[in-house]
Structures are given as C-alpha cells and as structure tokens.
Amino acid sequence: MTTREMIKIENLNKSFGDLHVLKNINLEVFESDVVCLIGASGSGKSTLLRCLNFLEKKDNGNIIIEGKEITPSTHDINEIRQKVGMVFQHFNLFPHMTVLENIIEAPVHVKKVSKKEAIEEAKVLLSKVGLGDKADVYPSKLSGGQKQRVAIARALAMKPDIMLFDEPTSALDPELVGEVLATMKELAEDGMTMVVVTHEMGFAREVADWIIYMNEGMIIEKGHPEEFFENPKEERTREFLSTTQLK
C-alpha cells in the first residue's frame, strides 16, 4: 500500500535571536496520519507546528508539502495555507462576526465560493461539530469548548488536506476538554491528516498513529502509541512520561 506523503521536513532549523528553538528537525507525515507532538513547554513543538504553516519563518532546511518544496519566494503562501488548516490555543475567532460569518469568511473572500453555497456548507460543518443551533450567535456568547469547535469548523470550511492543532485544549476548563477532543477524534476517524501539539496524553494514546516527543528543540523519540507509552526507548522520554503520569 502506498500512502501519500503529506508533509516532509528536512533539517529544519529555527532560532529566535540567540535561542536555537528547532535543531535539525526531520519529520514525515503521511496521508490520514495523526501525529501528536508532545513535550515540555519551550521544547519547540508549537514553533515546529507554526513553521509548517509559515507563521514562523524557518532559518534553513526544507519544508515539503504534498511533494513540493515550499518557500515564500517560490510559492504563494496564501494558497498553501488554504490546504493546511490551523486551530489555535486561544481559538482566535473573529469577535465582530457571528459563528456563521466566521466560518464563511475565508471560503467567500479567499476561495470566492458563492455566499449561498458557503452558508450551506457551513451549516453542515456546524452540525458536524455539534453546534447547529449556534450559527447566528456571536463568539462572546460561547463557552471555550464551543469556541474551539467553531474554530475547527472554520478551518475545515476551506477543505484543507492537513489540519494543524496548536494546544487546542490548553486554554479550556477541564470539563470542556472532552467535547473538543471528541470532535478531533471524529475528524481523525474521517481520515484527516492531523498534526497535534498537545498535553492530553490520553488523547494522544488513543487517537495518534505516531507520537513524537520533543525536548530542547530536538525530536528525541518517535513511535506508535503502544510502544511509545509502554516501552519508551529513551531515558529522557521515560523521565517526561513519569512526570505527566503523576497528574
């Protein structure tokens, strides 16, 4: 069986001033893979994710999306971003627009989909994330979990091939985490290619195809969830896992 290589990263380096945040990162993500990036704060996992969407500019190395090496000088980054959806820790919904307007904004103004069509698709997406009744509400009226589900629907409205999640549940009250993870799990079951930065070990274990543990800007270990959690190879991974399991 041949699966399509969606993302390939070769020798990626990134520094903020003197701080070397990503050190020679190599990574491959295949179609329908769910990859969870875990690691302590400051380990570089969010920066790595943001490089994939060109929100951070790499220093050197290659970023290959769907077989093509992408750089801001050779490709229209705006077109690449339409294929790579992003969900943020703090949702970043547009507060001056209703839920529906949030979702149709990019399809209508970037993809030039007709408004009628965009609205129909948005309603389908909204019921998919369980918020069919919230179309005309403003984001300020939603709970954190609902906001994040709207943000997921908004990203999906562009029909991306890949979805990036940057700590999607870290800003949520504990009782709201489950609903967002459930939505993400459904998405994974539908075959979406996903890269998820998360601290939710339970989710990673259950949903991920691959777990990647990062520390100090390096990928320390990569494995399937079973072997990764039951039988980690690296000492640093074991140390990290023992600290998270105390919770």
Binding site: Q82, N92, F94, Y138, M158
Partner: protein, 221 residues
Amino acid sequence: MPSFSHFFETLVSNKGLFIDAMLLTLKLTAVSILFGIIIGLFFALLKLSRSKILSFISDAYVYLVRGTPLIVQIFILYFGISGVFLIPDFWAAALALAFHNGAYIAEIFRGTIQSIDKGQMEAGRSLGMSKGLAMRRIILPQAFRRALPPLGNQFIIGLKDSSLAAFISMNELFNVATTLGSNNFDEMTYLLIVAVYYLVLVALLTILVRMFENRLAVSDR
C-alpha cells in the same frame, strides 16, 4: 452681562444668520472629519508598514502637525494653496482642518490597530487571506470599533477647531458672532449665543457617536 430676556431676544431675532453660519460650521467639520479619517487611516497604515521610509514619512507628518499651532497651519495652507491653485476658500479651510485632524486620527488608528490581538491576523492568514485582506476584513473593523470613543473626542475637537476658519474669512459660527457683536456693540451677548450653538452641536455629535458605538457593540451582547 446681558439680561436673560435680551439674550433670548437676540438669539431668536438672529437665528437665520446663525443657522446659516452653523450649516457652514457643520459642513467644514463634516468634510474635515471625513477627509481626516481617510488621511489618518492612510498614515496609520504607512506607520505600521514594514518599510522604514514609509513609517518615517508618517512620523514626520504627525510631528509637523502636532508640532505647530493649527492657526499657523491654516494660514500656511490657505495662503499656500490659494497661491498655487485656484480653489474656493471653503476647500482651503476644510483641507487645512482635515490635514490637521488627520494627524491625530492617524495616531488613534495606529494605537487601536496595534491593540488588536496578534492572533487575529494569524487566524486570517492561516485561512489563506493575504495581509491586506485580513487587515480589511478582520483587523480594521475591530480597530475602528475600538477607535470610536477617541474618535468621538477628536470629532468634538475638530468641530470647535473649525472656528479658526474665521481667520480666513469663513462666515462660520464664530466669525458671525464676533462680527455681529462688534457691529451692535454687544460682544458678550453674541459670544454667549455662539457658545450655546457649539454646546448644542457637541451634544448632538456626542449622541451620534454613542449611537454608533452601541450599534457596533452588538457582538458583545
């Protein structure tokens, strides 16, 4: 001080002249605010652009306007513009006021645009929007809403500053009041009348801005 009945009689008997003058004041204010917003937005975006040169041009403009008295600017622009182009006095005055308001409005917009969370631009860009589209659709509507209270303040200042157009012989409120006052050897009465006109106009402007704020605040409810 004039007696109240004398004040009131003068107010009523001169209402035609004052209302004409008020309309001119309103026209001057409206045009100078409208153009001031356009100029202000333009220079705010220059200031926030990545180019150091454009940003410097914006700084220079704001510095020149804030660093010199309005009356000096009006005279320079009035004699300057009408020395080179033949334009009506009204437009010389209105453009001078707009040029002046623009600098303050540029600072208001710059501040409110910068106050919008960085994540908003990132969210727009991550959906494939260009920087310009995200600015227009995502950032500016939010920044404009946040700018309304300080803008309202600037509108009031602009309304009152339009009285300086009297010095380039615009027959706006202040000019009419001082002319009538000295013609009738009754300055104080006419100055009090014109003060009332300004107070009413400022009250209306305040209500207008507040109504606009409430309408835009719908997403907070």
